[in-house]
């Protein structure tokens, strides 16, 4: 399909910079974005009738957000922009997209997927109670809707987002009841060596923590979550063990939880890209070369959808993937552009690894989850059911476990529970988590209305 356009999926930092670079080379890419407004998650735009200044929304990153938005707006006449459109499948004729009830088949010569990431979740008893949200959700509520998820939220999990969101809530006049971090202080110090490569980012994080502490917000490190409590079907408290093993409790009316991020890799999977297990992020992801080329010659990946390095890296990786697309398509791209982007990304790689080391995914919590804890929130499948698949039903890997007791079988296709379910399965079978594999993707990537029709 050499005559077909280049497609960019996603219009966050990676997708925007990719599209921009393609336009610079004289191409007119198709940009397909699930959101109604460009920006992705981290630089998500508020609705048009909202008036807060970028500084309010994006803090220290306001200039970057504004630049990403402005640059995209300038691109509009030069791209085929399809907002509010979901890529849900892949056929021999092209990508299957849907907007409302209209399905369109989009042929492509090459495609750059910048599908971003979602929160990485470790279930805890009570996490399906109304009032419990992902950290990302807590932030989106604030940024995109000027709402707090509660009056007195607890933020629990690990990773830089934990402190950023808590601080943003504090700025918005909502004082968190507590910030609970599963990572120990000593672990964080170890990761700091690598993170030192981006001193400004580290300094921001330290500042958030200091501001929170100064405002009297309790910050606890090295905790073990025990339960989200509820009364009358709403969150009423959080119970955890502190670093010395003492059982602690905080009253609250909402929880924002998250343990770093997980890449959205379904589209690469549907396109049959080869996957590898990434020991740094302890998750499966598509294999890419340093320019974002996958095992498939017409598919490229950039941004957090393949490597969890954050928004700055996503901008560089998006541009880089576009450079690779251009060069592979016979356009001239100077070596120096590749070299410069590689240099930028080397720093980001180091930083990303440092973050993963400083705020490790608490895989060990999976083993201790009570049998009656819901893991798959769509299908209401408990940890005990996954353990039954592992034991009595002898499922050696995730897809078999899913076939037999349904974890990951619901509407979200395991986005929320998949990684935690894999840890539970691996723990129950006493094997490393990579050995239980990953859930295969099935179309439609998101629920597809049965009354849609193909528009040509």
């Amino acid at each position: 399909m050499a005559d077909e356009p280049v497609i960019v999926i996603g219009a966050g930092p990676a997708g925007t910079r990719a599209a921009q670079r393609l336009v610079q080379a004289g191409l007119r890419p198709v940009v397909i974005d699930e959101n109604d407004r460009q920006g992705g998650q981290i630089y998500r735009r508020q609705p048009e009738n909202f008036h807060r200044a970028p500084e309010k929304l994006y803090g220290t990153e306001a200039a970057k957000a504004s630049s990403l938005h402005t640059d995209f707006d300038l691109l509009r006449p030069h791209i085929d922009y399809r907002p509010g459109t979901t890529v849900w499948g892949v056929s021999n004729e092209g990508l299957m997209t849907v907007r409302g009830q209209d399905v369109t088949i989009v042929p492509f010569s090459r495609v750059i997927i910048t599908s971003g990431a979602t929160d990485r979740i470790m279930p805890v008893p009570g996490w399906t109670t109304p009032g419990a949200y992902s950290l990302g959700a807590a932030q989106i509520a604030l940024k995109a809707q000027a709402c707090a998820i509660g009056r007195k939220p607890v933020f629990m999990g690990t990773g830089p987002l934990l402190y950023l969101v808590a601080w943003q809530y504090l700025q918005a006049g909502v004082k968190p009841a507590a910030v609970l971090d599963t990572s120990a202080l000593s672990t964080r110090m170890r990761g700091l060596r690598r993170m030192a490569s981006r001193a400004r980012v580290v300094a921001n994080g330290v500042r958030y923590m200091a501001n929170l502490a100064r405002a009297g917000v309790r910050l606890h490190a090295g905790i073990t979550p025990r339960a989200i409590e509820g009364s009358n079907n709403q969150v009423s408290g959080v119970v955890w063990r502190d670093s010395r093993g003492k059982l602690r409790h905080a009253a609250c009316d909402a929880v924002g939880m998250g343990y770093g991020l997980r890449s959205e890799t379904q589209l690469a999977d549907l396109l049959k890209c080869e996957f590898i297990f990434d020991p740094c992020f302890t998750q499966w992801r598509p294999h890419v070369d340093r320019n974002g080329r996958t095992s498939r010659p017409d598919v490229y990946l950039a941004g957090d959808g393949v490597l969890l390095r954050g928004a700055d890296a996503a901008e560089a990786a998006g541009q880089l993937a576009a450079c690779a697309v251009l060069r592979d398509g016979g356009h001239v791209v100077a070596d120096t552009e590749f070299t410069q982007l590689h240099e930028t990304l080397t720093v980001m790689n180091r930083f990303g690894r440092g973050l993963a080391e400083a705020f490790p995914w608490p895989a060990h919590l999976a083993r201790a989850l009570p049998d009656d804890t819901v893991v798959c929130r769509c299908e209401n499948i408990t940890a005990g059911e996954i353990r039954r698949a592992a034991g009595e039903l002898d499922a050696p890997e995730m897809n078999r476990a899913k076939a037999l007791t349904r974890p990951g079988m619901g509407r979200c296709q395991g986005r929320m529970c998949g990684l935690a379910a894999a840890e539970i399965l691996a723990a129950a079978r006493n094997v490393p988590v990579r050995e239980v594999g990953r859930l295969r993707t099935a179309a439609p990537v998101k629920p597809l209305p049965l009354n849609c029709t193909v528009r040509s």
Partner: protein
């Protein structure tokens, strides 16, 4: 029952292929007192047995298959006592619906023809059908209702028989691919990719779409194709569609079917099939086929149009040229038996095939007529 032979690489019977047919045969062979080794390339029930629609349907089958289907249905009802689980079997009833007069005539004729075989069908007009099954759409005219048929969960059934076979003493060996089968003076020698060798005087090939090559290696080739069913499932809803609903149209694209499971999701399939690749073990689900199914599903149950599909899938199924399975003894090699190529309608038959093949292998005879399925029909 005989104990295991001391040499664990030997048994009375080797079964190659742990789909529903192989797993059920292994289970029933143990009840016949024979020692069994079941060799499965991947995991039991993972291919066609695990991805099909889950129809436990007798109506519209080839008439000569009804005795086998009747036997199978009795086992479905008895499964909790037999193997300790029901694989979510529900005797929900099954309706075949038509939108054209010609197809309606065919249903009426079948309802008469199947009666001597003990299958009682009720023919209804569209209005009668809508009175009893109000979810059915206004375009539906003649309906054939089989109250004693139903559906079950294909992901659970074959693995359940595999575990039951193991509990009953069969040696069920997964992740073991057979690469060569030869026959010495007395025994079949079965070699596997991981360097093992197994031996038995009796051997059943029940390797689904991969059975053709194995049969051909004994000089018994057949016309054969590997296809992929196009399946999907909606989000869960209150349980309000009891019967399985299938369209009996003679136009392949219109021939969709659906069932609601008690948890609430509606499983559907039918229409066109994709071409499967037995080398890569992949059968594509073509999203355009999913799109083609939508309007036909809405003709059966108009309110389905309001729902959302949450997942689609396919799997490798084996189809014989005349759309009947290969089941019974080899016509050339004594001690060799076949049970494969069930052409996308084998799920209901699984338990019956297992019991019948076990009977045939253990005693040399069965009361179930298998003549139409004999491999010699292609020689």
């Amino acid at each position: 029952m005989t104990a295991y032979p001391t040499n664990r690489m030997q048994a009375d019977v080797i079964i190659v292929g742990g789909g529903f047919m192989g797993a059920a045969t292994a289970f029933f062979l143990r009840r016949q007192g024979l020692s069994v080794i079941l060799l499965e390339r991947d995991l039991v029930g993972q291919a066609a047995s695990g991805v099909n629609f889950g129809n436990v349907r007798r109506q519209s089958r080839y008439l000569g298959q009804l005795p086998l289907a009747n036997r199978s249905r009795d086992i479905w009802l008895n499964m909790p006592r037999l193997i300790g689980e029901d694989a979510e079997f529900v005797m929900s009833g099954h309706i075949l619906v038509t939108t054209s007069e010609k197809d309606g005539d065919r249903l009426e004729k079948y309802a008469v023809d199947c009666k001597p075989y003990g299958l009682d069908l009720t023919i209804m007009t569209g209005a009668q059908a809508r009175a009893k099954f109000p979810m059915v759409g206004p375009e539906i005219r003649t309906v054939s209702y089989s109250p004693l048929d139903g559906h079950a969960n294909p992901r659970l059934a074959a693995p359940a028989f595999g575990r039951a076979a193991r509990r009953a003493g069969a040696r069920v060996i997964e992740n073991t691919e057979v690469c060569a089968i030869t026959k010495s003076a007395e025994d079949f020698i079965v070699e596997t990719r991981n360097g093992q060798s197994f031996q038995a005087p009796l051997l059943q090939i029940s390797s689904g779409a991969w059975g053709r090559a194995m049969a051909a290696s004994f000089g018994e080739d057949i016309p054969f194709a590997a296809n992929g069913p196009q399946m999907g499932v909606t989000e869960p809803l209150p349980y309000r569609i009891e019967p399985v609903i299938g369209c009996a149209s003679s136009v392949p694209e219109e021939g969709v079917y659906l069932r609601q499971v008690k948890r609430g999701n509606i499983v559907f399939g039918g229409g066109l099939r994709s071409v499967a690749d037995i080398v890569t073990k992949r059968a594509p689900i073509d999203p355009l086929n999913t799109m083609r199914q939508m309007p036909h599903l809405a003709r059966l149950v108009p309110q389905m149009a309001r729902l959302r599909i949450i997942r689609t899938w396919s799997g490798v199924e084996g189809y014989v040229g005349d759309n009947l399975p290969i089941m019974g003894p080899s016509s050339r090699v004594p001690g060799l038996f076949f049970a494969f190529g069930f052409c996308g309608h084998g799920f209901q038959l699984g338990p019956g095939v297992g019991m019948t093949m076990a009977e045939l292998i253990a005693t040399g005879r069965t009361d179930i007529p298998l003549e139409p399925f004999h491999i010699k029909r292609f020689q």
